[in-house]
Amino acid sequence: MSQVTTKASLYYPPGGILMWIIVYLELFTFGAVLVAMALYSKDEASIFHESRLQLNTTFGAINTLFLLVSGFFMALTVTALKTNNLSKSKTYLKLTMLGGLLFLGLKTVEYFDKIEAGLTMGYNTFFSFYWMLTLFHVIHVLVGLVILASVFRTMNKNPEKLIMEDVEASATFWHMCDLIWLLLFPVIYLVF
């Protein structure tokens, strides 16, 4: 297992420069759509407010907690691995993935409720943004879980082939899902 020494180089942010370019591109993309949503809300203020009240903020807040706790365990996974504690690292990674799965489970319940109530993508402008942004985020969480499952598989079957840079890049991607949700949750569920 290769070790990475921490240095404040422009070319080596934690997780690697390519992953951080992806992080900024994703943040700018989601950020731009959220700003567009805020612009549309000016023309349809009452519709946005009434639609926002139809969202389940408790589900949103619990999902925020699931992702935050999952991110906490991801950070512990990387720390444990840096100190060559593979068994702890595997336990933390399992808890990280559990957080992601719980997020997806609750999101599925929330989506089911919305579809049952007829609040689908074409219902109004607010719900068009809601479905587009949250579904795009869910896709990121799914991709993140596949990446983490792949890291876990290597930890289990070929721990000698585990590359620290790859684990850090995977962790950065997972935390990025957290960052995006931290922008989506207040704007979609709380502000309007």
């Binding site: 700003v35 935050l68 991110g71």
Partner: protein, 78 residues
Amino acid sequence: MKQNPFFYVLILLIALTVLSAVVANSHLENAATIIMVLAAFKFLAVAFYFMELRHANTFWKALLIAFLTIFIGLVLII
């Protein structure tokens, strides 16, 4: 026993999330501003601690803070 610093960050993040939910359900005049500022603190805590951006070059930190400032500013101004 000395706790991992990540643990304290997690407690802070949970407290800020609960506070955001309380503010959202209150009838405060500046609720939106408070919610967005709390979200900004949570965003920075995840980036600087869980993602270890605090160990990165100033360029990456400045870029993230610039993005966040512009984003929060635009959402609140609009």
